[in-house]
Symmetry: C2
Subunit: 211 residues, 2 copies
């Protein structure tokens, strides 16, 4: 069967296609690097038009990871997609969704397990890189906590996916006026692969790696 087998060649050709087909001209060089990897993860160059990087979001994420920031994930799939060898400071990758306390806490607050899991992040939110790639309610809950004065993350990757709450929670993230940098994708699209690709891209920038 005739197909490209060399990982370097596949990698190079993939990013050639992304570069040729995606319009990344409006992004800074750092943001474009992250955008290209998010596109690579989902196979859709058209998401470029729907991405929003707040000012210096990528730079803030790079500095945070270099300083040892914890990465807080809403779902195990997001955590699973983060390539540990790219992390510049053996950064902890945390997902509290399956913590023994989460289900009871969800009942107590009348919200989803994904939202309850965010409450368990506590002081680990200070300076963290937050990677939400699945549940809209996790992003809504994070925004509620920040409104109430919770510790500020260094960067929010707000990339939940789906038909109920995904677009709405991302609109709230964009509308918020507290000063936390974010990367998001308006509308329904998002997901764990796009989110872990964004984390990996920022980690590689932090480590000065090109792949």
């Amino acid at each position: 069967m005739d197909y490209l087998r060399d990982p370097e060649a596949i990698y190079r050709r993939s990013f050639e296609i992304v570069g040729a087909e995606a319009d990344l001209a409006r992004f800074s060089l750092f943001d474009a690097t992250v955008a290209a990897r998010m596109i690579h993860a989902c196979g859709m160059v058209e998401i470029a038009d729907r991405m929003i990087f707040s000012r210096n979001a990528t730079e803030g994420g790079v500095a945070a990871l270099q300083a040892g920031a914890t990465i807080l994930c809403d779902a195990e799939m997001v955590a699973s997609g983060i390539t540990r060898k790219h992390l510049p400071a053996d950064n902890p990758v945390v997902c509290t969704l399956n913590d023994p306390q989460t289900a009871d806490h969800a009942n107590a607050i009348g919200n989803t397990r994904s939202a309850a899991a965010v409450d368990l992040w506590g002081d680990r939110m200070e300076g963290a890189v937050v990677a939400i790639g699945n549940a809209p309610t996790a992003l809504f809950r994070l925004l509620e906590l920040l409104e109430e004065g919770a510790p500020r993350p260094a960067l929010i990757l707000g990339l939940p996916v789906g038909f109920v709450g995904a677009g709405e929670s991302k609109s709230e993230l964009i509308a918020e006026t507290f000063d936390v940098p974010y990367i998001t994708l308006v509308g329904r699209l998002g997901g764990s692969a796009i989110t872990s690709a964004a984390v990996n891209a920022i980690a590689m920038l932090a480590k000065g790696e090109s792949r």
Copy 2:
């Protein structure tokens, strides 16, 4: 903040939207159930037009999982997205990508680690549900092994994503004439979330669960 917090209500509303927006009329009831969950996982109703279910693919997957079939995944993210409690027979979930032999074997055969990992499945392919949600080279390699007479899986979920080889490997899967049922999505789209959603849907059908 005003948003839907009740997981049952979110779930119901999500599938109402999928049902209202996605055209699933050409699918059997079983296939439509799987298709709806794949759409739910990625937030894109338009993938319905690109899905191909070979005849009785879902039925074959259901019977295989009930009989204890192993689930062979090309990537840890796919394995991570499979909800173990839905599995009808404590089915083993296997990913050999990070097996200690994989890197050396990739060098030996001049192919990617993802392709090399498929070679390590061996006799576990017999009657298995194969879930490829990331690497085109894993699907290409699987098809090569099947051409060479390797043990037949019960079902192939051929859903790699990306710009190099994803569309091509799925076209090969569709063009193959050996008699292994498959579910695929033509073109570049696919991914770990869509793939694990398909496995979860088949598992829930096998267990008679609606969620």
